[in-house]
């Protein structure tokens, strides 16, 4: 069996929504180069709907594919829906990831949350801090 599913390879070879939005309404960044994965995401938000999304990733094939898939899953969606995106949904949409690559989908979930938090902070919108756990812990990447 190949390391990755066809879906993962497709999103790795032809990542959707790669790039930068200069006048983004929200930006999120998670991971660090020391661990070997960084994801950055840029959102345009209009009337609580994500109208455009771009991403950049430093990382392995599954990190790039997870970020690409995550952008597809939230594009055009209301913020409330994007907030509920789980890493499991990313994994399922990619037809699975190898166990030791699950952390890539965790980063994809976290980067979206980081961007949404940025949006709330920028616009003075109140939120429950429990929705946005602190820094990513590489040792605790699990499917949830």
């Amino acid at each position: 069996m190949a390391l990755y599913s066809e879906k993962v390879m497709d999103h790795f070879r032809n990542p959707r929504n790669v790039g930068v939005i200069e006048d983004a309404d929200a930006v999120g960044e998670v991971g660090n180069a020391k661990c070997g994965d960084i994801m950055k995401i840029y959102l345009k938000i209009d009337n609580d709907v994500i109208t455009d999304v771009k991403f950049e990733t430093f990382g392995c094939g599954s990190a790039i594919a997870s970020a690409s898939m995550a952008t597809e899953l939230i594009k055009g969606k209301p913020l409330s829906e994007a907030l509920e995106l789980t890493n499991r949904a990313v994994v399922e949409a990619l037809d699975g990831l190898p166990t030791h690559k699950i952390h890539c989908s965790v980063l994809a979930e976290e980067v979206i949350k980081a961007a949404l938090k940025d949006y709330y902070d920028r616009n003075g919108i109140a939120y429950d801090p429990a929705m946005f756990p602190d820094d990513h812990d590489c040792e605790n990447c699990e499917l949830h």
């Binding site: 990542p15 990733t57 094939g61």
Partner: protein, 396 residues
């Protein structure tokens, strides 16, 4: 089209090896321990293979023990020296931080059993010095084990000088020569080592077979108990086809050594120069003291596994020391040992060529790597930060 540039991982079985093996996979299926003629034919082949391997290394046949591969040979050499040392109350071992895991993990095991291990730092150019070894040896040192050539960055260590230090201080000297045998001249008497490990599939022999050279006068301990094969030092019916194939491959490699080295060095140097044109890249390992077939670069701002996947799409098979390829969170211990920060160690690429690679292949690889690096940098937030000056480049 496939360009295989991962010969440090494994090599293609040579035709000479295959032809030598076939009779022992078909008609000559005897057990060398059997008294009948079918068994004795196998025994003769075993004897001839031992003479051949010994001859290729400048050793005596009785100094060669066949094993299941390089890892077993490393394990057996280290456990032997540790057992001999313990009898004299000597339980200190000197090695280096960038050994193969077959050595490092065996040393870890010994450490848990009460041995003290000193791992020498490796200089930024991927070399350790005989002076470092001399300084590290203590009254209670029972073994020095330093690899002949590093499997990731290809640097060739001053084993002859290190062995001389060991001899002077009366400490056993082992070298893991898995990457060196069949690639550069290796003569055990010239090197002056007490033990040396090698692996068949690194020089166009079959997988699952290797050998341990152990100088006459050193009593090997066995890892596998059972029958009296290999003079009681390695039980289990011999892998005759493997052993015969390895001997044939080694003979051929040694016979063509000078030619192959010259061919490979030319292609290697083209690769090193071509990839060096990529901005913010750094060659890992000394430029001169390196295996004829090894090229290892770090490219700043990108990650190794994605480089490999894109190269594979272009038909180029290579490897990387990134965490993602190692299955752990840390990148290669070799790159960390030579002082590469995690950030750039993740972006490493190893190309290990054999004598069949052409300059045209090298040019294709250079083009492919350049395209791949540019593509991945184009989507890397790290690269963006470096270029915009938000972060400082580590490489030049």
């Amino acid at each position: 089209m496939t360009i295989y540039a991962d010969n440090a991982a494994t090599t293609r079985l040579s035709d000479a090896a295959l032809q030598a093996m076939i009779p022992f996979l078909t008609d000559n299926y005897g057990n060398p321990s059997s008294l009948h003629s079918v068994g004795q034919r196998a025994n003769e082949a075993l004897t001839a293979a031992r003479e051949s391997v010994a001859g290729s290394l400048g050793a005596q046949p009785r100094e060669i023990t066949f094993t299941s591969g390089g890892s077993e040979a490393d394990n057996q050499a280290i456990m032997t020296a540790a057992a001999l040392g313990a009898k004299k109350g000597k339980k200190h071992i000197v090695s280096t931080a960038f050994e193969h895991h077959a050595v490092l993990h065996t040393l870890n095991k010994l450490q848990k059993q009460g041995y003290e291990i000193t791992l020498l730092d490796v200089h930024e150019n991927g070399m350790v010095t005989p002076e470092q070894v001399a300084e590290a040896i203590r009254e209670d040192t029972c073994l020095v084990t330093v690899m002949t050539a590093n499997n990731e960055i290809g640097t060739i260590q001053p084993i002859k000088e290190i062995a001389a230090v060991c001899r002077e201080k009366k400490v056993l000297c082992h070298t893991d020569a898995v990457q060196a045998v069949g690639h550069i001249p290796v003569d055990v008497k010239d090197l002056g080592v007490d033990m040396l490990s090698l692996s068949g599939h690194k020089f166009h022999g079959p997988k699952g077979v290797g050998a341990l050279y152990c100088r006459r006068g050193i009593l090997l301990s066995s890892l596998i108990e059972g029958g009296a094969q290999e003079r009681g030092k390695r039980a289990g019916t011999e892998n005759i086809a493997g052993i015969v194939g390895m001997a044939a491959a080694l003979e051929e490699s040694v016979r063509n050594l000078a030619d192959n080295m010259a061919k490979m060095q030319r292609v290697r140097d083209r690769l090193i120069e071509g990839l060096g044109e990529i901005e913010h890249s750094v060659l890992n390992g000394d430029r001169a003291q390196r295996l004829p077939g090894n090229v290892n670069y770090c490219f700043e701002g990108i990650e190794g596994e994605s480089i490999l996947l894109l190269l594979d799409d272009k038909g180029v098979c290579a490897s990387s020391g990134s965490a993602c390829t190692s299955g752990s969170l840390d990148p290669s211990h070799v790159l960390l040992a030579i002082g590469r920060p995690h950030e750039i160690a993740h972006g490493s690429l190893r190309l290990s060529i054999d004598e069949t690679m052409t300059l045209n292949d090298a040019d294709y690889i250079i083009r492919s790597v350049k395209e791949t690096v540019a593509l991945l940098r184009g989507m890397s937030p790290v690269w963006r930060d470096l270029v915009s000056g938000k972060k400082e480049f580590i490489t030049k």
